[in-house]
Subunit: 413 residues, 2 copies
């Protein structure tokens, strides 16, 4: 039987609400973009909590805040947990922030209930993940830690308001030239707690999930070109209609993902037709395909299935077909030993869990390049996120933090 870890629900609720007061937006919303005054307030608060918990508290060169509980085995790699402290515009109280708070509360509870660990435990609040201020910044905090920010990136990362990430950093006393100093090569394992952002746990009536993979994601931008003609005078059988081709491709891609079953997904979120007039067969239709699968082999096969189907439809309909791949993230598999350890901890702590893949991207994907990783999901009400209405209950959150703390205990003590 593993250690039973006590997590104080009042403390959890208090931390969530106090952190959400920095960038408070309406009743339950948060508007807290990277390096903004609200963000500075939130990171200062997080650092003060780390300090009060007796952790060694530092802010690295990119603005991530760390709370370190030193272990007795100084040379062993650290066991790290955390998530991002920035939000959507507006977002809610939980996306990102909950993972930063959970890491701190788990570390503080372990320190209070079990004392000094063998391996060093660290809680981290990543400075940026949402791309809500700088559209090309995403994973800015974890990319700095993993050494994936290039020297020219800070000046080339332009905000929606035209400001560069470099300028935004300088305004709050950070030197973008020093970002490489944030790089870490001494992290053994990373576990991120996050809200699910989907409906699977709610549907299953289970509070918490162990995440065994983060999905592979590819964004195709597809263009179909036909011949623009009169909607009345041109018979159906001799048209080169890119709208008909698009609708067949989109329907079949969605049907394929549906038939494959969870966790395969395919989404057509974007479509632009030209000239987009009621009585005109379009000349061109451009659309997006968002395709995701967490299993590397199946992911590849899903991409290939869609691609060969698109070629077949375009050829049969005598349409010109081009596509570009705009985002291509490989699936990130969790460390099997950590997944099975977390499953075991859940059983010992009597926390009901699902084991599932994440369909959304997370900092964990970045951290996987330097550490063994896994994630813990907490149930989201109605699967909602990126909105002030996102919500997870305190009992569910406490269950998630207890599982996180038990896992950190297993890895560090």
């Amino acid at each position: 039987m593993s250690a039973q870890i006590e997590i104080d629900p009042k403390l959890v609720e208090n931390y969530i609400l106090k952190l959400a007061s920095h960038g408070e937006y309406g009743e339950t919303g948060v508007w807290r973009t990277a390096y903004s005054p609200e963000w500075v307030g939130a990171t200062d608060l997080y650092a003060s909590w780390c300090f009060d918990a007796g952790l060694e508290t530092t802010r690295d060169a990119v603005g991530n805040v760390w709370g370190k509980l030193h272990g007795t085995h100084a040379d062993a790699g650290s066991i790290v947990s955390g998530s991002h402290i920035d939000s959507q515009k507006p977002g809610g109280r939980y996306d990102g922030a909950l993972g930063a708070v959970a890491a701190l509360i788990a570390t503080k509870a372990l320190k209070e209930q079990f004392g000094k660990p063998k391996k060093t435990i660290e809680a981290v609040a990543f400075c940026e993940e949402e791309s809500s201020r700088f559209p090309s910044a995403n994973f800015w905090g974890s990319r700095a830690i993993t050494g994936r920010i290039k020297p020219e990136d800070p000046e080339n990362t332009i905000g929606f308001d035209g400001e560069t990430a470099a300028d935004a950093m300088r305004q709050i006393g950070l030197d973008p030239a020093r970002i490489p100093e944030a790089m870490r090569r001494d992290i053994d394992a990373f576990i991120e707690l996050h809200i699910e952002q989907g409906p699977i746990l709610e549907e299953a009536d289970i509070p918490v999930a162990v995440v065994n993979a983060v999905t592979g994601i590819r964004h195709y931008s597809v263009e179909l070109r036909g011949t623009q003609n009169h909607a009345g005078a041109f018979p159906m059988d001799i048209r080169r209609d890119p709208m008909a081709g698009f609708m067949e491709i989109g329907s079949r891609a969605i049907d394929t993902a549906h038939r494959w079953g969870r966790p395969a997904v395919t989404t057509v979120g974007r479509v632009i037709a030209e000239p987009n007039a009621t009585a005109v067969i379009p000349s061109t239709v451009r659309f997006s395909l968002d395709v995701r699968h967490p299993d590397p082999a199946k992911c590849k096969r899903l991409y290939e299935t869609h691609e060969s189907m698109m070629r077949e439809v375009a050829a049969r309909r005598n349409l010109d077909l081009d596509w570009t791949i705009q985002i291509d993230h490989k699936p990130c598999t969790s460390e099997p030993a950590i997944v099975s350890m977390l499953q075991k901890c859940a059983a010992e702590q009597r926390i009901p869990i699902l084991t599932m893949a994440s369909g959304a991207g997370h900092d964990t994907q970045q951290m996987a390049s330097i550490a063994k990783v896994a994630m813990i999901f907490v149930r989201s009400k109605e699967g909602r996120s990126h909105t002030p209405e996102e919500f997870s209950s305190i009992p569910d959150i406490v269950a998630g933090i207890r599982l996180l703390a038990a896992g950190l205990h297993k890895l560090a003590y």
Copy 2:
């Protein structure tokens, strides 16, 4: 055997080119919107040709130009032919203008070769059909003749440049209050010659068609509403995805029209998704359905088939569905006696013809409310229109005018 009518190809070509010089656009284009200076030049030229041909030449209250060859039976209704003299922006030399020229040349040839008819023959150049200057003006000339312009319409018909049709008329000396004077109740039959604007004659290698109906047209503006969600975290099987619903509906509507075969058509020309982002299941998709059939009963059944299919798809996919009908023109059937007379004339004149329906709308649909109607189509190169590239050959045009003249001869002599 009917009268053999001579039509001079040089005169035909000369008239087409001279008329096209008013509003000349590039090598072969025409830009001639209603009541513009180019339009005034073209109508003046047309009137001068009517006058030179010895026809009684008048301009009515809305700006249509008439050339009248009086018959001996003064009380019998007139036999009228013509089409519109305005163009798209830019259009070509043939859409509309060819029908006005053909009517004049046929009337002139009949006068020269057969003298005074029993029934009065009139050639007309309608002032407006294309809605290229005033989006809600369409059929302005033939609507005035049939009494379908309401007193408030001239002030409420606003141009793309903000000017009213009433002001545009006043600027060239026409009084919009007098439009009702253009109304006619003494027209027995109306035959419009027009380019096909589709590829059917070219595909069949036939120069001319007798048109037995003008299609019924309905424009649906459809809205599907679902639930906006994360493209990664929401499983396929529990989505309320209006894009998936739209693509299924559009594909099935197009497939239905395709399977019904010619002349059924259905087109999805327009689609707008919200928020139209790659990684987001849309909340709303709005799209158009352009549905056409020239047979009244089949037209009704095609509309009903699409409507019940839309309801079924929306219900099965748990989507909210609304539509409005933005254009609803009933099918217009040609006078069977005139159609069979024209078929007989074509055989007598040894002109190869198809008998077909028009998939585009025409002034003939308006004229059908006050007269027996039919149309003659001339082959279009590659089925193109509404572009400077539209083209019909002089031999095809001469064949069409010979058929028109033979028909007018049968009706008036």
